[in-house]
Homo-oligomer: 111 residues x 2
């Protein structure tokens, strides 16, 4: 556990928001949630901010904020093509969160 509690906490904090969870869910299967893009592949490059903004019903700056928050926690990466920004999920980082919780979920019962 003490193998970086603070980074784990930051990670879980980033996951602890309704809108961010929704966005991550969408990004985990972009083709199921967004139309195809002209200038970048949904899966390979990621989803553009505009699509997420339209679908989630928040202002564009607020969505950018959430995406930057996720990015700081390492949960997404971004890529710029022309003047679009594409955000892609980093599933390994989600897995790290799961791994950190694994030991808590299985408490040691000493005799």
């Amino acid at each position: 556990m003490d193998a970086d509690v603070s980074s784990t906490a930051e990670l879980l904090r980033a996951l602890g928001n309704e809108h961010r969870l929704t966005i991550l869910d969408w990004l985990s299967d972009p083709r199921a949630h967004f139309p195809a893009q002209r200038d970048g592949d949904l899966v390979t490059d990621g989803v553009c901010v505009g699509f997420i903004t339209d679908k989630i019903g928040l202002s564009q700056p607020t969505v950018t904020n959430h995406l930057q928050y996720l990015s700081k926690a390492g949960l997404v990466t971004s890529k710029r093509i022309k003047n679009w920004a594409f955000y892609r999920l980093v599933p390994e980082r989600v897995e790290e969160a799961r791994a950190a919780l694994a030991r808590l979920a299985l408490p040691v019962q000493r005799p």
Copy 2:
């Protein structure tokens, strides 16, 4: 996912704090982290607030605050014996968090 995003977010928010993570880690194996108690079994009843307060180095009201936060998220339960309050981990609830993250960690790759 939409099977209660808001409760999942609350759960992950509760997990997203260094001190609360530390406390939960201790509660996942109380005998490894605390001395035996006179008036309640560490595992069966939980750990008393005083032990946690001493070990974590925060004020007692702050610790009570964190424990109540965890309790609202369903991550711990409390039991009062005499004038001690014992807090015990609810590993099933941690497992719920893991389950919610499981689908994100395994993104669908459609052909």
